[in-house]
Amino acid sequence: MNEKALAAALRLLFERELKRAPEKPFGQGSQCLSLPRFRPAVVEQWTETERAHVASCPDYCQRMLALSWREDHPPLAHLKRYVQAEYPYPAAMRFHLEHDGCRRCRLVVELLLLKAVEWLAGAVAVIYGEGLLQQRAAAFAEPRAPVYLRQTSEDGKLIVTVVETDPPEHELKVYVEAPGCGEAGGRVKVTVAGEGERLEQELELEKTEFGWEAEASFGKFEEAASRLGEDWVVVAVFREPEG
């Protein structure tokens, strides 16, 4: 087969696929929502009619909702309602957790099922680190970069930073800032969960010149990492002071 013939055949193959492309996506019906209606900012503004339709449309609308979570995970409130069996679009969540196998959300759902985190308190920040400890296989590869993860809660009231400190201390440390914290201060429960174990600490926020802050050490990094495994999720929950 000469080059021209090969190129012609390849172009015909493309033409064939273009001809075979379905007129509309699988499962889409006349009542289905347009893609812009699945933007996270819009989902919360769906009309009653739209909500009812999506709830009854697992094949297309719930699938599209799940696709929108491939870039931005579902809001924590949605995960919580799913765990409580109150989520109206369960096929979307199953698609995200099972079909897409989102490890971050699976870890969060596990924590929710274990009731390891309390969600009714105000701000919640979630950090996900995937394959944090994977070393490159080649002998000449550069060493792994130190762990540094930072995340702000959905409401902007809590900022959490996870750091692998330099040797000789070489600890796993979590820093919490609470710019949304009132004069009364508060506490933050930090949970670091991996596929192995779960580490927890409850921190008292302290007033500094920069605002309300707290920090916690989870011990020597290598030891903590070996207990947690490859993928971690760090959940920080703000609690108002009692009384």
Binding site: M1, R11, L13, L18, R20, A21, F26
Partner: protein, 245 residues
Amino acid sequence: MFGHEESMAPDDDKDDNDLIQSYYACDDAAFEELVGRYRKRLFAFFRGLGFSYADADELTQDTLTRVCLTKDKPDAQFNPAKGELDAWLLRIAYRVACDAWRRKQPTMVSTEELAVEGTSAWEPADRGPDAEQQAAANELLDALAACLNELSRMEHAVVVLVIMRGLSSAEAGQILGTSEDAVNTALNRARNKLPECMKSKGYESVDPRESVDPQALRQAMAERGDEFLVQLGEDIVVRCRRRQR
């Protein structure tokens, strides 16, 4: 950029850039117009990369969803100063394909599966006047699709972008995030491997163009407006007539 598909674009006053800017300015109908222009092309792109029909459908929607979500992410929005919209779409589509490969082993389609798929609901109902000839052409194209799946992912993507879509090596390099030289190297490797693979499937001396319905091919090539392809189509028609005599 979509050199062989200009005729696919609907006659409309608004160009792609107008449409996406209208969408960013809250005109959802403009986004639907863009979907109408590009959905089938994206589907064929994913099929070209060897994804099954179901996966190509899902990844097409995934790509369009990601484009849709850029409305709320100014840094990720399409910028006409940085190139054409179709190149930007292909970059997103390729990232979507890479994510799919990372997520799981995709359903790469074998020749046998293609034959089954060819008889499913995805198959167009009208198979043309000469069903036997069309079937032979389809068999050959199925074998070629199977050979594409045996290439490395880089080689496969380069073949899809450069040969099937008609992009330059430089344009393909931008989409794949690699150099023009790397694209050319991958292309040369693929050009060596594909004929060998086709030979192993019994297509050593058969010119694939001879298996194609001449009328349909002539029409398709003329629609493309590509001189080389028009001439190629004419050659095939002439040879087919000779054989029929």
